[in-house]
Amino acid sequence: MEFLDAHTWELVGRYLGAGLALGLGGIGAAVGMGLSAGKANEAIIRQPSEQGTLLRTMLIGQAVGGSPSIFALVIGLLILFKPAGGDVVGATFAAVTIGAGISIGLGCFGSGLGCGWPGGAACEGVARNPRQSTSITSSMIIGQAVAQSPSIFATVIALIFLFRAPSVTGLAAFGVCLGAGIAMGAGALGPGIGSGTAAGGAVHGSSRWPQSSGSTLRTMLIAQAVSQTPAIFGMLVAFIMLFALPDLDLGIEGFARTLGAGIAAGFGGIGPGIGSGTAGDYACRVTAARPRIDALTLRTMLIGQAVSQSTAIYALIIALLLLFVV
């Protein structure tokens, strides 16, 4: 910690943190908007007479799906220009800014990418059924709004990083900041993508079978809620590290415990988040096509999602063991 002076640490932290925030946070939204634009092009070729409506649908989808990257931009600018002050100086300031950058960067990656599927499905749906464009657009916006909640969790954690000093110092402060950043950021990545794919299936289904759009939307919201559990686990671990850390060795052992817990809780949530979203995608399509068996479909989806969440629970257990037991 002593081999750099306080001002150098501060600049290293600002540049790395802002780079991670904007570099990672922009990828998802950009790819997601590209998915929407590609589907809009296909749709305009199929229905040239509806090009005005299709362009509007595409732009609404891209505007809503682009908001995670705007969260990342705001946090990135805060990381760059927020005045350093109080007791957070030098290496601790660097740790805090890098942690905030990882949290917001990875967190906005998932939600931005996820919003691309409902955007693309809405363009396809409007081309197939132009008279339903209002209801298709509103189910797209509902799906995208829910898919954005993981990125909002990540924004909250990044703001807490920037405005509240960590409770530990030394090498352990690096562990806490990196660990909580990864737990929240990577934990939000999978749920953001998964909620988006579930919304894509629902928009597709309700545009083909508009008469069953009520039960389709219900299945979508349940699927998205289950798919977001890993993000809540990640936020829980981040909150524990930021507010309720037990007495911790401030040297390399504290660093290893907090960083390890963050990696387990964060990356452990990616797979279950994406997997539960895939289950939701298929379940929404089936519910739309066959609303009479919606209870059976919902039950099968929930059983499958529960099994898929088991590895996120193992990862949460390992994270809690690392923080409280070992």
Partner: protein, 103 residues
């Protein structure tokens, strides 16, 4: 403060932890603890994605043939249990690193 000084300070920590005030036992324990986190974190990705895919396809199949829902759910659960095995391997190895190696 130039880059060479930073690199040589880092090299001291990596090559001779004792000189930097860290015992090698602490370094080994730290490695086991971070390793447990990486093991369970990345090990959880595959089963989660795979089991979700199996659940999605089961829903699709039940949509085609609702009379066979019991058979399809059973097949889905067997497939998911097999897919879960790598997640359980990760859990076992992570617990070994926490309570056997890292002690």
């Amino acid at each position: 403060m130039d880059l060479t000084t930073v690199l040589s300070a880092m090299q001291t920590v990596v090559a001779q932890p004792e000189a930097a005030g860290i015992s090698s036992a602490a370094v080994i324990k730290a490695g086991a603890l971070i390793g447990a986190g990486i093991c369970m974190g990345f090990g959880a990705i595959g089963p989660g994605v795979g089991e979700g895919f199996a659940a999605g396809k089961a829903c699709e199949a039940i949509g085609r043939n609702p009379q066979e829902a019991g058979l399809l759910t059973r097949t889905m659960l067997i497939g998911q249990a097999v897919s879960e095995s790598t997640g359980i391997y990760s859990l076992v190895v992570a617990l070994l690193m926490l309570f056997v190696v890292g002690k």
